[in-house]
């Protein structure tokens, strides 16, 4: 081949290659419905990433066992890294139409998923036939994933907030680990003693960035008996005495007592990093916060205990609850929906299997014994089975969570447009935690205006 001919061929190959690659990019998977053998294929996300070797092995074992029991179903697992707990990632996939057939979402994601037009109504498919423990699942959780009487997702996990505290620091500060703070005044007094230990230890730590500040403001407000939105959900309802009290408590601890540490503008991982390093005495969180401290931030289970959320003058009047579930992508065949439900039932909703396989989790040092997931209704068969298995295989000291479990507080769900509202409320939280001269009335008024504007725009 002469040089000019060679160059021409190379150029044509380049164009052809580029064209093919672009075509490949725009081609959707064509094997989603059925495979050659008449099997039903579904794609599911949240497969553990490669670095989580044991979790990944557990997942793969579950897939293999499920497929052995259901030879007509093929599970294609997709690992999307942070997608399962990262809102921007989730939004991008949703907007881009690249969610899997069965996809994970927070309880707060329902409106977003519905707006995207990506989820299908699974009301007629979700029942005892497809999910054997269906009747045991707390009806309130099914309601959270319903809209206009139609069900759009299957709940797989539920949490409620409490006061997480470091027993080791409590002991060092001379506090009684079996008698944790019950009111915000108690929290303030304990925080002062813990921070007096010095060495950069914060007696109490709080979020104020990345939407987590607004999330915790909501929880603190619920503890006072307040609410973020009016009953009809059309207006903000936090610019009042209770909202002011929440911010005043924090401001007093931050600048009055200097018991909240020097570093603020914390978001989820920042606070837990400090907690893992033994620099946090107390914070509010769900039971799985302790799991994250241990598995991701090098903390120790034995150091952490939980009590109910404190209230202003006594126990909290309400506590924030939330959780997660699995949606089904619009356009799936009935066979695919049923196959997806079977898989979710097996991996997430069957005591002794998948997320409830405590016999497997115990030797692997994944925590067994935490008061979570609060999935099954009180007194239901599934709850009894799950509790028995949990007790029999507990590898964390359940006494550390006994007060929390023994003192149920009414759970309140997250507000409509939760993430957007949390983003607005971050500014109020950061205001009192970073500015000693912050004006609480002005911060709340600004946040109220923003939330009202946001709600009117969304309506």
């Amino acid at each position: 081949m002469s040089v000019p001919q060679y160059r021409r061929a190379a150029a044509l190959a380049l164009v052809a290659g580029l064209g093919l690659s672009l075509t490949a990019c725009s081609t959707k998977s064509d094997d989603k419905d059925t495979t050659a053998g008449g099997k039903v294929t579904i794609t599911v996300d949240c497969q553990p990433v490669g670095a989580q070797k044991e979790l990944l092995k557990n997942w793969n074992d579950d897939v293999a066992e499920f497929q052995r029991q259901n030879p007509d179903i093929v599970i294609k697992s997709v690992s999307v890294g942070e997608q399962c707990n990262n809102p921007p990632d989730f939004t991008a996939r949703l907007a881009g139409g690249t969610v899997t057939d069965v996809f994970y979402g927070y309880m707060t994601d329902l409106q977003q998923v519905l707006d995207s037009g990506q989820a299908m109504d699974i009301s007629e498919y979700a029942n005892k036939d497809t999910v054997p423990t269906w009747d045991s699942i707390d009806p309130a959780l099914k309601e959270v994933f319903s809209d206009g009487g139609k069900l759009y997702a299957v709940p797989v996990k539920n949490y409620s907030m409490g006061l997480v505290y470091n027993k080791a620091l409590f002991q060092q500060a001379g506090l009684d680990v079996n008698n944790p703070p019950k009111t915000w005044a108690d929290v303030r007094a304990a925080a002062k003693k813990i921070s007096a230990l010095g060495n950069g230890i914060a007696g109490y730590s709080e979020y104020s960035a990345g939407n987590t500040g607004g999330w915790h403001f909501t929880s603190l407000l619920y503890s006072q008996g307040g609410r973020v939105l009016t009953e009809d959900g059309k207006k903000a309802d936090f610019n009042n005495a209770m909202g002011k009290q929440v911010l005043q408590n924090l401001k007093d601890m931050r600048y009055g007592d200097n018991s909240m540490g020097a570093r603020q503008l914390l978001q989820w991982g920042d606070l837990l990093t400090n907690a893992g390093a033994g620099k946090v005495g107390m914070f509010i969180g769900a039971p799985d916060a302790t799991q994250a401290i241990v598995s991701q931030f090098q903390g120790k289970f034995q150091d952490w205990a939980m009590s109910p959320l404190p209230g202003q003058d006594g126990l909290a009047k309400g506590t924030l609850g939330g959780g997660e579930g699995y949606f089904f992508k619009k356009g799936l065949t009935p066979e695919q929906v049923k196959a997806g439900l079977k898989w979710i039932a097996y991996q997430k909703l069957t005591p002794g299997k998948g997320q409830f396989d405590y016999v497997r989790a115990k030797p692997q040092n994944y925590p067994v014994g935490l008061p979570q997931p609060l999935l099954f209704a009180n007194g239901s068969d599934a709850q009894k089975q799950e509790l028995e298995l949990r007790k029999a295989n507990a590898n964390v000291d359940t006494a550390n969570f006994a007060i929390f479990e023994a003192t149920p507080i009414p759970i309140k769900g997250e507000p409509r447009n939760a993430q957007a509202i949390y983003a607005v409320l971050d500014a109020a939280m950061s205001g009192v935690l970073t500015n000693p001269n912050s004006n609480i009335d002005a911060l709340l008024k600004t946040a109220e205006d923003k939330v009202n504007q946001l709600l009117s725009a969304q309506s």
Partner: protein
């Protein structure tokens, strides 16, 4: 005998002469395309890349800014998204913050590299090493550099690098990113440190193109260093100065990674919310991709306005 010479017609500047013999003029389009097949093939590749990855997303964003998606149904809503986004109380905060960042970045990130370049140009020894030292931060991934600042330099306790220095100098320490008043200066400082090397190299290249005779002449006329900078350096580098000023404005107005990493997003009392971060906030946290698109288009128009001013100014100078 008189010898007459025909003066050569001066060649027009611009397109260089072809080194190959020029054949008969071809008018057939098909043959023209065939003859330039290699060039066209490469051109198609580049154009396709631009169409798919640059122009299509831009046009899609403009279209989206006039639409609203609810329950999977997309409808045309005219200017509604724009009106809504302008009504957002964070809109003006974001523009105010962005303008503040841009002005500070022009003062620090534009002027400082120019003087560093002049200084480097004056050094007679170890020029290469000094250039490498100045350029080194550019090679650090921006996220890593910003995390260094966030956790090491801007630590608000007395253990933080900058606070330790301030304390050693018996100066008051700062809360850095946690103080609403310090947010922007601290972000600009970090940004300047990260990006200065690139600008310094461009300035240096430009400075080295200035004929030495101009400085010699100026020196003979008794010009000191400031006069030489004012009357020789600045006029000789004005095009590069104008270009970099424009690039600096366009780049700094899109400030995003600094608030995202240094201020965990909005920063203390929204003091770090930039327009680009607000776009991200609307798109990815508020489930408002259409509002985000509208804000993106507003930003595009503003930046295009700056670019137009630049083109006009440089055209006049030429």
């Amino acid at each position: 005998m008189t010898i007459t010479t025909v003066p050569e017609t001066p060649r027009k500047p611009g397109r260089p002469m072809s080194p190959y013999p020029v054949g008969p003029q071809r008018t057939n389009l098909g043959r023209k395309v065939r003859d330039n097949l290699t060039g066209h093939a490469f051109l198609i590749g580049a154009v396709l890349c631009f169409v798919v990855f640059s122009w299509y997303p831009m046009i899609r964003g403009i279209v989206m800014s006039f639409q609203r998606t609810r329950r999977g149904e997309t409808t045309w809503v005219g200017w509604d998204n724009y009106l809504r986004i302008v009504d957002d109380p964070s809109f003006w905060t974001a523009w105010k913050n962005t303008a503040y960042f841009t002005v500070l970045a022009l003062v620090l990130g534009y002027v400082v590299p120019f003087f560093v370049a002049i200084l480097l140009n004056e050094f007679r020894h170890a020029k290469g090493y000094l250039r490498i030292l100045v350029y080194l931060p550019v090679m650090l991934p921006p996220a890593s550099a910003l995390f260094l600042f966030k956790f090491y330099a801007y630590d608000p306790s007395e253990a933080g690098l900058f606070n330790a220095i301030l304390k050693a100098l018996h100066l008051p320490t700062s809360q850095w990113m946690q103080s609403p008043g310090m947010t922007m200066p601290a972000m600009v400082l970090a940004s300047t440190w990260m990006n200065m090397g690139g600008a310094v190299l461009i300035y240096l290249a430009s400075l080295q193109n200035i004929p030495g005779e101009l400085y010699e002449a100026a020196e003979l006329d008794g010009a000191g260093i400031w006069k030489r900078i004012r009357h020789v350096t600045i006029p000789q580098t004005r095009l590069i100065l104008a270009l970099l000023a424009m690039l600096q404005i366009v780049a700094t107005m899109q400030v995003f990674i600094e608030p995202l990493i240094l201020a965990n997003g909005a920063g203390a009392e929204d003091s770090a919310t930039s327009v680009a971060y607000l776009i991200y906030q609307h798109g990815f946290f508020q489930n408002d991709l259409n509002g985000a698109a509208a804000l993106g288009v507003i930003m595009l128009v503003v930046l295009a306005g700056f670019s137009a001013v630049y083109v006009r100014l440089t055209a006049k100078q030429d």
